[in-house]
Symmetry: C2
Subunit: 154 residues, 2 copies
């Protein structure tokens, strides 16, 4: 009887562990998919994919700004004028990782983007990327975004 | 009687709101103070201040790395050899902001560091900084750190 109880306990623990792992994998997949969807649109010259998922309190860094950009309205003012001006043919999202803490997911990755200059010349850019997502009323919002060049001096 | 009850309710709500605000301000102050303490040590050539507060699962970007650095052991291997090699005379932490979501605090700021080259020449560097802290068993750990140059092309 103790052996049976132990066996049942082990089965239960395995099921619980599998369920936790599956849940966790699903949450990571959701976050990565959200970022990819917005990035795909961005690469076609459409910033609305990101604007749709930014929270009202989003904070943002990229290498073209002289300081942090704060809030959705400021992001709209920054990104809407770029509509139609970005052209990324393809990208590789390298080793995406999601660190989960309750209702916050921190997605980090390196990105190699194969794009074109306004003159149509091929241009490869290597990026470091941080995207922090927070879940509010069951919906994930992107609340912090930090893009920087990988080894800009190299 | 209803007026008295309403008045008491309003007082109670004000007290609760004040308490929540005070708690929130304190939490922001704690996070900013942790970062400043580690940064002060870093500027004196001592990376141990950061190594003491990094979580085991820390992820890290800076402009000198060719990709994301993962985990405390990798950070130790990266930073310990820099002991005694960094000299920052002073810095300005510009407009630090803490976004709080449960047990996660996202600290962002711009930094102007006034340091010296190995040859002793004055050097001013402008940074974008993201530091994500997670509270575990009541203790804050730095679990993601992203340093980049502000307008590196400028």
């Amino acid at each position: 009887m103790p052996e049976t109880a132990l066996a049942l306990l082990l089965v239960a623990l395995n099921v619980a562990s599998f369920a936790a792992h599956a849940l966790s994998a699903t949450q990571s997949d959701t976050i990565v998919a959200m970022e990819r969807t917005a990035l795909d649109r961005w690469g076609k010259g459409d910033p609305q994919g990101y604007l749709d998922i930014y929270g009202p309190d989003v904070t943002y860094f990229d290498p073209m700004q002289s300081k942090r950009v704060d809030g959705l309205e400021a992001m709209r003012a920054l990104l809407v004028p770029l509509t139609g001006k970005i052209k990324i043919d393809r990208y590789e999202m390298l080793d995406p990782k999601v660190q989960q803490h309750g209702d916050v997911s921190i997605l980090t990755f390196n990105l190699v983007s194969h794009g074109r200059t306004p003159a149509g010349e091929a241009m490869v850019v290597r990026w470091n990327a941080t995207a922090v997502y927070a879940r509010r009323s069951g919906k994930w919002q992107l609340i912090h975004h930090h893009w920087s060049f990988t080894k800009p001096g190299a």
